[in-house]
Structure formats: structure tokens, C-alpha cells
């Protein structure tokens, strides 16, 4: 489904990632762990062709298409969804307006009745007020609300590969359970895969990832199953 081969990423003057290889199949949950500044968020953004990053080597393949040099919007329309560590706020734009526009762009427009019906259903799943959809995009929202807001959009867009950069930051214990429940339910009902940046043991245990990757020194240094997370948490990053 998704393949990264020998990817090297730079900004204008600095190499941030070197020789990244990662293969994700449908149904899998991959977790990226690593010290601060190791390149986890950079990798997420590079997949989405963030304008500040330059891919100087390697390829990214998604569903047999080479998306290495695709624009961000084109990548998103193919079904890759990204939730940033700190989602930006868009002043004056309502969630409903953005989601309906995005649905139109990805080719799945919804009539107003279906939209309202789905909105009610997803709001209940996420344990947020039904009027959440009528708030401005991430404006005056707490960290946890922003993450739930991004998940609300995800539920509408039904992406195939979901990239979550520290979805747990800003979430309290109950909210982590809500988020994990929504993600597990989503995976059950959709053909999809997850790439998650997290250090949150509780969330990782709830999601039961199939793969753990240790990102260090600009590359994926080690990959393994859930036992790698336990090893990392016991030893700390410096001992790898």
C-alpha cells in the first residue's frame, strides 16, 4: 500500500532525514518513536510534501503511484490524511464549511441531510458537542479539542493512510481512550493503515501497533514489534 525507499530530505541548508525505508501494508499500525529532533515530524511532513522540505533522494510510493513529487493537495486527495502536532487555526472558517469543501475536492460530496446525519454520529463517537462542527477551524480550542476536531474531519474524508503526529499531546486520560476507540473503530470499518508518532504508552497499548520504529540520527535505526517499545521505554533512547 505504502512504500518509502531510500528517502533523503533536506531543508535549504541542512539534511534532516537520510536513507529512510518504510513499508506499510493495509491493516497495519506503525508507530514512530525517537528522541526530540530525530526527524519523526519531518518524515510525516515530507510524506505530505511540506513546502519547506526538499526530497533529494528516494521515492514514496502509494497504491502503486510514485507520489514523491506530488503536491500536498494531490497527495491528500489520493487518501493520505495528516494530523499535525499543533493543528493550525483558520480564522472565520467553520469546520462544516471546510469539511464540505474538502469532501467536494476528494470527490465525495454529501448532501446537507447526509452531512448532518454523519456529523451527529461522528460527534457522538468523539464525545464532542453536536455543535462542534459549527465552530471555527481550531480557533479558541484546547489542544485536545483540536485533535478531536482533526479526527472529525478524518471520519468524513475516510482516508486510506492516516498519519498522526503526537495525536496524544494535549489529551487527558479519558480523551486518549476516546481517540483510541475512534481509531480502532475506524480501522475495523475501513481499508486503511496508520503511521503514528507517539511516546504515549497508554495510547500505544490501546492501539496495539503491528510495528514500532526507532527514529534516530536522521534515519530509522531499528524496527520491531511491540517489544521494541518496551525495550525503548526501559533503556531510554541514549542506549540505542
Amino acid at each position: 500500500m505504502f512504500d518509502i525507499n531510500d528517502l533523503t530530505v533536506k531543508t535549504s541548508d541542512k539534511e534532516l532525514l537520510n536513507n529512510i525505508n518504510l513499508k506499510i501494508n493495509e491493516g497495519e499500525i506503525h508507530v514512530l518513536m525517537g528522541p526530540n529532533g530525530a526527524g519523526k515530524s519531518t518524515l510525516c511532513k515530507a510524506i505530505l510534501s511540506h513546502p519547506s522540505l526538499k526530497k533529494t533522494k528516494g521515492k514514496i510510493i502509494f497504491e502503486k503511484q510514485d507520489i514523491t513529487n506530488f503536491s500536498t493537495d494531490k497527495i491528500a486527495r489520493l487518501g493520505i490524511y495528516y494530523i499535525a502536532q499543533s493543528p493550525v487555526a483558520i480564522e472565520g472558517v467553520k469546520n462544516a464549511e471546510l469539511i464540505r469543501t474538502a469532501l467536494q475536492e476528494v470527490g465525495h460530496p454529501l448532501d446537507i441531510f447526509s452531512f448532518n446525519k454523519e456529523s451527529k454520529k461522528y460527534s457522538e463517537e468523539l464525545n464532542v458537542d453536536k455543535n462542534f462542527i459549527h465552530r471555527e477551524v481550531n480557533v479558541a480550542m484546547s489542544g485536545g479539542e483540536k485533535k478531536k476536531n482533526e479526527l472529525l474531519t478524518m471520519l468524513f474524508l475516510k482516508p486510506k493512510l492516516i498519519i498522526l503526529d503526537e495525536i496524544d499531546s494535549g489529551l487527558d486520560v479519558d480523551a486518549i481512550k476516546d481517540v483510541a476507540k475512534v481509531l480502532i473503530e475506524y480501522q475495523k470499518n475501513n481499508s486503511c493503515a496508520f503511521l503514528i508518532v507517539s511516546h504515549q504508552e497508554m495510547l500505544i497499548n490501546l492501539l496495539k501497533p503491528t510495528h514500532i520504529h526507532l527514529v534516530m540520527d536522521k534515519t530509522i535505526k531499528r524496527s520491531g514489534d511491540i517489544s521494541l517499545m518496551k525495550e525503548i521505554l526501559e533503556k531510554g533512547f541514549t542506549n540505542f
Binding site: P51, S71, T72, D73, I90, E105, E136
Partner: protein, 198 residues
Amino acid sequence: MSKEEKIIIKEKIQNINVKENLNIIEWQFPNDPFVCNIYLDDNVVFETNCLINLEKVNGQINIYSNNKSIVNISLGIVFNEENNLEIKNSLIGNEAYSKIMIKAIQKDDEKSILKTVGIINEKTKNNEFLEQIKVLNFKKQQIICLPELLVYSNEAVANHNATIKNIDVEELFYLNSKGLSNDLAKKIIKEGFLNFNK
């Protein structure tokens, strides 16, 4: 309740006397240079909360506030091509209150000038003036914002601020990552910025 009206400026110099509460729901400007003088009687409320589209406009709107009059302006301005607009509010009486809030964007790769002037006249008392200008610029689409506050009285409260914001890369990336093209993302950001009905 205020009477709702349109202002259609046709003359080179147009004078409007406001004798009762008035809410302007639409403005129409000529392409030739103009000066529009609006004189408010005592105790009158003058308000306008709307979106205006300007194209090659070159003019001046002067509002003269008398005793206990209230000015409440919330304008979203879309500049198309080159424009030069000045909005001047002179508080010539006492105990008048003025609030001017303007949000402006330039639609195409041109430059427009938006000048706002607040004047509190000498020997007036207990006037209050608040002005807030927000401008959203993007690359070659620019608005030159010239806010000015002239306070000649010692017994007044006056406050003004101007913010110039650029559409930033992270906002565009965010909307792109939802599947929106660059053009659509910019349109949404601009429309959101101009939205007063929050």
C-alpha cells in the same frame, strides 16, 4: 431601530446629513475621484456592517460626529485592482462614541492604499474613539495601510491599532493537506478573514 439605506455616491462632492438613526447596508462608489461628507446630528446612531467590493476607487469618506452621536462601522473591504480610499472620522461634538473596524484584502496582484484617520477636535469633551484595521496581504497582492489618530483634546479616550497579516505557509499547507488546491485554500482563508459574523 435604525432606518436601513444604501449610499450611492454619484457626485464629485456629496454631502449627506443624518438626522435619524441610520444603518447603511450597501455602499456604491464611482470610478471618478469623490469626497463624501456625512454629518451626524446630535444623538444619532450611524452604523454599517457589510462587505464592499471596490474597483479603481479613489475617494474620501468624511464622517463628522456631533454630540452624543454613535458611529459603529464594521466593514469588510475587497480591493480589486488599484484603489485609494480614505475614511476619516472627526469627533466635533462632546460625548460621542466611534468604533471603526475594517478588514481588508487585495484580490489581484495590485496595490491599494487604505487610509483611516480619527480626529478628536480641540475643546471637545468625553469623546471615545476606537479604530481597528486588519489587512491580509499575499505576495504581490498588497494593501498599504495608513492609520492616523489626531487627538487635540485632553479629555478623550482614543485607541487604534492596525494589523497586517500575511497568508502563511502553514495555513496553506493545512488546507492543502485536506485536499484543497492552493487557489481554493487562499480563497477560503480570505473569506474567513473577512467574516464579521462570528
